[in-house]
């Protein structure tokens, strides 16, 4: 830890009269190249959340509005900013940078409490207090002991609050009985993000596993029920398809050893009498086996290099597999879609519990999976292929749900409805609006236009951004609800007579905004490209440094 270095660096930062850091982005070198960023708490035109409704208002809906400063419901100016801060922090074996961020909930204290977090695990390594506004004097309050690693075999259930670090300001969001101020949480999530240790609790609220108004005691019981439910779901497919139990691997010694180890663990666990599995009614067997084949093909190539999976010799990849199979078996309308592994793996690593990861994944996929299904994929790119390449009615028919989806996620149109707004379409519309020159250049150079962004949009940047940033995009994505007003403003045909709850109505979602902002941020580079190949190469390896000033320029683009 280079705490001294950090405090020194922090003390040299410029401050404004209110004591907030002014700079948009300041990097400080610490020790052996370790780096952290100063997060600018005060940036105009940052997308606020609406604490009254408790619903996050996606950024773009605010960007088109003038005079929104001081609008009722806006968070105090000093809490703004830092919302869309992405550092280039891919996981590296050593020399981690520290990242400092301020929690808005600390704002009422005499000074300002700044927590120093280790970027690898986002563990709080120390809390420092900054003196009266503008003085820049720092005093160390306390140093946190290293976080105890809680192993995620899912066998022990903790009360959620007990998982929080003792000093976590998140605790102030719970009342005496343990009911959460969800609006407050959403605000914190959007503005500053979560620590790794906090995510274990907060994600279960964000992804809808816990009701916000549940008490600690209710959640303890709920946890028990969810664990039992997941176990019986897992038993169901294992009993019905015994040969699916064991993963089939080819020439992968590391994974074969993991399977043996896993089976040993399972045998130990089986000594405890397991409840009888549910019986899968009318399961579509060919679909189950097809999902299983794809899962077994994709799991071995999912994040296996990450230390989380390496730690126990890839055994956790097998938990990942069971999460995905159980999901596919009980969600036949969706099944397994390639790309799901990225999300499931991030849930498993973040929550470090198979049960929690499963239920968060289920809830998350209720909203996101439609865009990964055939129909959703077609919808994402609808406008990109040009009129002659749009899916034929036959193709569109093939893209429909394979079995009647639950009413909550039913897509009421047949095939691709005329009102279908694809992410790519919206992205392109937005880009055309904000940066006509760049849009024209891309359209001129690449017949496929923004197709190179497809993976970004489908997988919500889970592959392209660094791990921490990818998690950030996930949790911000969890805040999003309905399509935003911006879609209606930009695309007049969406205004009336359409079902806004249909899964294909992406509107201007966060990933669309992020996509446009990334393109604009790299516009100079992109304007040089003369070949479609360059765009695809860029999309594979975007420079993930993404700063709030891009959103600002995006906003000014709207207003002009």
């Amino acid at each position: 830890m280079h705490l001294e270095g950090r405090s020194q660096a922090a003390g040299t930062s410029s401050t404004d009269s209110s004591g907030s850091f002014l700079s948009g982005q300041e990097h400080f070198e610490l020790g052996k190249g370790a780096r952290f960023m100063v997060l600018a708490p005060k940036t105009p035109k940052m997308p606020p959340s609406n604490p009254k409704s408790g619903r996050h208002e996606p950024a773009a809906s605010q960007l088109g509005r003038k005079g929104k400063q001081g609008r009722p419901g806006n968070p105090p100016a000093r809490c703004q900013g830092a919302a869309l801060r992405f550092g280039s922090t891919r996981e590296t074996p050593c020399g981690r940078a520290g990242n400092r961020k301020r929690h808005p909930c600390d704002k009422d204290k005499g000074g300002e409490d700044w927590r120093f977090v280790n970027e690898k695990g986002r563990r709080i390594v120390a809390t420092w207090q900054r003196g009266a506004a503008g003085t820049g004097d720092w005093s160390k309050i306390q140093e946190q002991p290293p976080r105890r690693h809680v192993d995620g075999d899912g066998t022990c259930i903790h009360g959620p609050e007990s998982q929080l670090p003792a000093t976590s300001s998140l605790q102030s969001l719970f009342d005496g009985a343990g009911r959460l101020d969800l609006a407050g949480l959403r605000k914190v999530v959007y503005e500053t993000g979560m620590d790794a240790s906090e995510r274990k609790v907060t994600w279960k609220f964000l992804f809808g596993v816990y009701p916000a108004d549940s008490t600690t005691e209710e959640r303890r019981r709920l946890d028990q029920q969810l664990v039992a439910r997941y176990r019986s779901m897992k038993n169901a497919w294992k009993q019905q398809f015994p040969s699916a139990k064991r993963m089939k691997v080819q020439s992968d010694l590391e994974l074969s050893l993991a399977i043996m180890k896993y089976e040993q663990q399972e045998m130990e666990a089986a000594k405890v009498p397991a409840e009888h599995g549910l019986w899968l009614q009318s399961i579509n067997q060919p679909q189950f086996w097809a999902s299983l084949r794809d899962i077994d093909a994709d799991v071995p190539r999912t994040d296996r290099h990450r230390s989380f999976f390496q730690r126990q010799g890839l055994v956790k990849l097998l938990y990942l597999r069971e999460i995905l199979i159980t999901f596919a078996a009980f969600h036949q309308d969706i099944g397994y879609c390639q790309g799901m592994t990225s999300f499931a793996s991030h849930f498993l690593e973040t929550l470090d519990s198979e049960f929690d990861a499963f239920w968060c994944f289920v809830n998350c996929m209720r909203h996101w999976a439609p865009s990964l299904t055939a129909q959703g994929v077609a919808c994402k790119i609808r406008e990109q292929q040009g009129p002659q390449l749009r899916p034929t009615p036959e193709a569109a028919a093939l893209c429909r749900w394979e079995s009647p989806p639950p009413p909550s996620s039913v897509h009421r149109g047949q095939g691709l409805s005329p009102g279908c707004v694809s992410s790519a379409e919206t992205t392109e519309e937005l880009l055309r609006h904000v940066d006509p020159e760049l849009h024209h250049h891309i359209a001129r150079t690449s017949k496929e236009r923004l197709l190179f962004c497809l993976s970004w949009l489908l997988l919500r940047f889970q592959r392209e951004l660094g791990h921490e940033d990818a998690l950030r995009v996930m949790e911000i994505g969890a805040l999003e609800g309905d399509p935003t007003e911006l879609a209606a403003r930009l695309l007049p045909h969406c205004r009336e007579g359409e079902d806004r709850s249909a899964p294909h109505r992406d509107g201007v979602s966060f990933e669309v905004l992020l996509c446009v902002a990334l393109l604009i941020q790299h516009r100079q580079q992109l304007l040089q490209y003369q070949h479609v190949h360059d765009f695809f190469l860029f999309a594979h390896r975007p420079d993930p440094t993404f700063s709030a000033k891009d959103l600002k320029s995006l906003a000014s683009g709207f207003e002009n």
């Binding site: 080819q250 020439s251 097809a290 084949r293 794809d294 093909a297 994709d298 071995p300 190539r301 296996r304 290099h305 879609c337 390639q338 790309g339 592994t341 990225s342 990964l372 299904t373 055939a374 129909q375 994929v377 077609a378 790119i381 292929q385 390449l389 899916p391 193709a395 569109a396 093939l398 893209c399 017949k447 496929e448 197709l451 190179f452 497809l454 993976s455 489908l458 997988l459 592959r463 003369q530 070949h531 479609v532 190949h533 360059d534 695809f536």
Partner: protein
């Protein structure tokens, strides 16, 4: 160096999930092999120049496609604008071989009115001990559909160059003979830029500034 080529061919690489499409293309275009690679979602794009005869270069635009069924709505849109294709199966995975027929049927429907010159590729030939498809039966199947058959390995870089250049050469011959011609609105074959030689029958297109090899 200026990128100069006679023609630009658009190729498509198809086959079941995890037969190694992306790995084969990356080996060919980037010369490297990644033990673990993410599944392709939708389509991906690669490009490389190949020299089929001294001084005669062809630019290949290679579309990599997702193997999973649900991405077909995207991938099938790319059949029509391709002149050549590599149809991959994994020699250690019998099912992927059995699906070759399905893939050909699928392309036949969506490529009309054009046609694609396919080569059948038995991939992962370095795993010979786990082979589930014999060379003989693969050759027989390829012959039945009028395709060539080649066995490749991206890991050991076996026949990767050959698979692409042989296909390119075959297409080149067909173009030279006039069996395949450049057509307006079709991306399969485009004429390139050749200094000091102007083909009267061909449109001369200004080449890209950047070298893509």
């Amino acid at each position: 160096m200026e990128a100069i080529w006679l023609y630009q061919f658009r190729l498509i690489v198809i086959g079941d999930s995890t037969v190694g499409k992306s790995c084969l293309i990356r080996r060919f275009t980037e010369g490297r092999f990644a033990q673990v690679s993410d599944p392709t979602v939708g389509v991906d794009f690669f490009s490389r120049l190949v020299e089929i005869e001294p001084g005669k270069r062809i630019k290949l635009q290679i579309w990599d496609t997702a193997g999973q069924e649900r991405f077909r709505s995207i991938t099938r849109a790319y059949y029509r604008n391709s002149v050549g294709g590599l149809l991959l199966f994994d020699i250690t995975n019998r099912r992927s071989f059995q699906n070759v027929h399905e893939w050909l049927e699928e392309t036949k429907v969506h490529v009309q009115p054009y046609q694609i010159v396919f080569v059948l590729v038995g991939h992962k030939c370095d795993l010979d001990t786990q082979r589930q498809v014999t060379r003989h039966e693969a050759e027989k199947l390829a012959a039945a559909y009028g395709m060539k058959y080649i066995e490749t390995s991206a890991r050991d870089a076996i026949n990767v160059e050959k698979a692409f250049t042989d296909l390119t050469r075959d297409i080149y011959e067909l173009v030279k003979r006039g069996d395949i011609s450049i057509q307006e609105g079709w991306e399969g074959v485009k004429s390139g830029f050749v200094p000091n030689v102007v083909h009267s029958s061909e449109e001369v297109v200004k080449s890209d500034r950047r070298c893509l090899c």
